[in-house]
Symmetry: C2
Subunit: 405 residues, 2 copies
């Protein structure tokens, strides 16, 4: 049953399409006449405990559609990871406001929060339905074929590397691009979609699913640079050594910043790219070595969005409302690939997604540990959208030399 007040919130890192899911919830919920209000919590669960709500029922459909097409979390987000007392606070506020259905758009941390809140509601015999809506550029949620947000971020990374590779071909050298993803390499792997012609980059791709060995890395770079007189490299920010120590913290020493979970700060600093480019310069004696850290651009850039990602993010929001309306109980909406290529939305227990992390399957990673397979390319291609631009080269029509024969 869907009636009274429903609440929607957004958690974790923003994506290009998280607002599509929020608007999907708002517009679909507004269709049910028993729903009196659709509330939005500002800055995720923190907005709930602070009773910081806005009434989305008073938004025009026109403005909601424009917000849906805008990247990042319009309601605001949070990095708070609620413990049990925090979750009990959430429940108290939901009860005080008479909220019967709570939609939380987020990753595996957000689904775990929802799992605890749902449990506390059952214990307190408060009639609450908790539905998780998947979202993450990391693409690391269990059960799901892929997650809303990933396709657009993958499109950004592929578009960036397509351009970078042309740039590197025009002014040759070695280039290192560092991409988000602490545990899962999907986003870094998406750089491979940039390759159209034989010999195009990225020539080397390093994923957190494989141990990073600096000596092998340098040998790989030397081999590619000897062959092509240039080398374009995609590196995940989460690369680590055999002990699991992030390469960046081996460099940064004790001053490295850690978050509430004790994780080393990987984004918002150029340190890893600078470390790797220095290593290549010093050890391989290559002169022109450049590094970029893609940073926040890859998850928020205005105007770089996958149309299929947009549609799916919207639909997963609408579907969440329908699952709530037709009495499925607490759970998460999961995305399943059928045929070639369509998506089926199913209702899955929170426990199957909550707090777990999916990484790339071995079949997607090349045996040399520095590339992806055709299986990954086929998996990823439909996700970046139908309007992905392509880069075109001149054909080779060489003119015979006259002076230097």
């Amino acid at each position: 049953m869907l009636q009274g007040k429903v609440l929607v919130a957004q958690g974790g890192g923003p994506t290009a399409v998280i607002n599509q899911s929020m608007v999907g919830v708002a517009l679909e919920a507004r269709r049910f006449s028993a729903v009196t209000n659709v509330y939005g919590a500002r800055h995720g669960v923190r907005g709930i405990v602070n009773e910081d709500f806005v009434d989305l029922s008073q938004e025009t459909a026109e403005n909601l559609e424009a917000v849906a097409a805008t990247p990042c979390a319009a309601l605001g987000s949070t990095r708070d990871k609620p413990d049990l007392p925090y979750c009990q606070n959430i429940l108290n506020v939901l009860k005080a406001h008479g909220i019967g259905t709570f939609f939380y758009i987020g990753g595996n941390d957000s689904s775990d929060t929802l799992r605890i809140v749902a449990e506390e509601a059952r214990k307190a015999k408060y009639a609450l339905t908790c539905i998780h809506i998947p979202k993450t550029i990391d693409n690391d949620l269990m059960v799901n074929d892929h997650t809303p947000g990933f396709g657009s971020a993958a499109r950004f990374v592929a578009s960036a590397f397509a351009g970078i590779d042309l740039d590197n071909e025009a002014l040759t050298g070695v280039y290192v691009g560092v991409i988000m993803g602490r545990h899962a390499g999907f986003l870094t792997a998406a750089s491979a979609l940039a390759r159209r012609y034989p010999g195009a980059g990225p020539h080397l791709i390093y994923l957190p699913e494989r141990v990073f060995d600096t000596n092998k890395f340098l040998a790989d770079v030397k081999r590619v640079n000897d062959q092509y007189k240039r080398c374009v490299i995609a590196v995940s920010e989460g690369i680590h050594d055999a002990d699991g120590t992030p390469i960046i913290s081996k460099l940064a020493g004790p001053n490295v910043e850690r978050d509430a979970h004790g994780n080393v700060q990987l984004s918002g600093t150029g340190a890893l790219a600078d470390l790797l480019t220095d290593k290549i310069k010093n050890d391989l004696k290559i002169k022109r070595v450049r590094g970029d850290t893609f940073g926040y651009l890859q998850r928020s850039f205005l105007g770089c969005v996958s149309d299929s990602d947009q549609r799916e993010a919207r639909e997963v929001g609408s579907k969440a409302v329908q699952f709530a309306a037709f009495g499925k109980g607490d759970g998460t909406v999961t995305m399943h690939r059928i045929g070639n290529y369509a998506i089926d939305y199913r209702f899955t227990k929170l426990e199957e997604v909550a707090g777990k992390t999916k990484v790339m399957d071995d079949s997607m990673i090349a045996s040399n540990s520095c590339d992806v397979t055709e299986a990954f390319l086929n998996y990823c291609r439909p996700l970046v959208g139908s309007t992905m631009p392509v880069a075109t080269r001149l054909r080779s029509n060489p003119v015979a030399k006259i002076l230097a024969k």
Copy 2:
């Protein structure tokens, strides 16, 4: 007169539309029946002295159009800055191949090379017409209202900051984005086009046209952060102290990389962003401080292009061929703004552009030295194209608190 063999080459840093100009030259030159071949030099002037030519006459119009829509220099580029003997070598090769017209697409260095080659040709009584075609994301060519390549790069920077500002609003903190531009701040200033709503970022913009004072910078950041509980900052890579010393080299010490001109390496390293974010963290005791260096993405990203920039870059190439065909002699094509908004192409002497640098006019820079004026916004707005996306916020419909009254 346009007859026999014509040559086109691309120099300096790639842009999103430099291929439009190259294709404009090729397709327009192919219309003249007296033209036997259109050659392209691989990697700019270095391709000339190496006799590394391709015959663009053998390219299909279909492939040329696809290349035109592709960012970066399809012929390859170079950072070589030819001296007199190098220019005499260029002339020898042009003579050997019987090339009568040489189109060079590039910035102020490229136009200076062309000036020397043209002078040597006159001395040698070799009938050569040298036409410079403007190109640079830095927008720093004299005489021109703006240069092809700038509009698309400005669109990238504005799109990036529009997204970054939403991201920063969703997960608050201080953000520093470092943008290309050693002497001219146009590209950094374009970040201001990201602002749509009152209070939107970038809140602070630091240009190389003004002395960078670290104490004032910290006071600015504190003031904005106190007011908005967040702060988004755009910084030019070329910021320097009162003596003209780049801020980055004050940090980097003797190990800093320098190019052939003795300039400090500014791009392809995250050092400046990391320096500034560390300073803010340590001196202002603000916890969440993030920095990105936009790096090569801002000049090569596939799919981020201004439609007006595309059209103008194409036309400036076509116009160069027409100026050559109708006997104007050596010179450069310059772009002049007329009405609101149209572009007039004129023929200008190489000396007026060659080796000179234009910077932002004082009227474009706010009196507080950390923002731009309305005059700059009006100047820049038509350049980023007609299809620039906009970011939309939710409207404010707050819900009354129940528990915390």
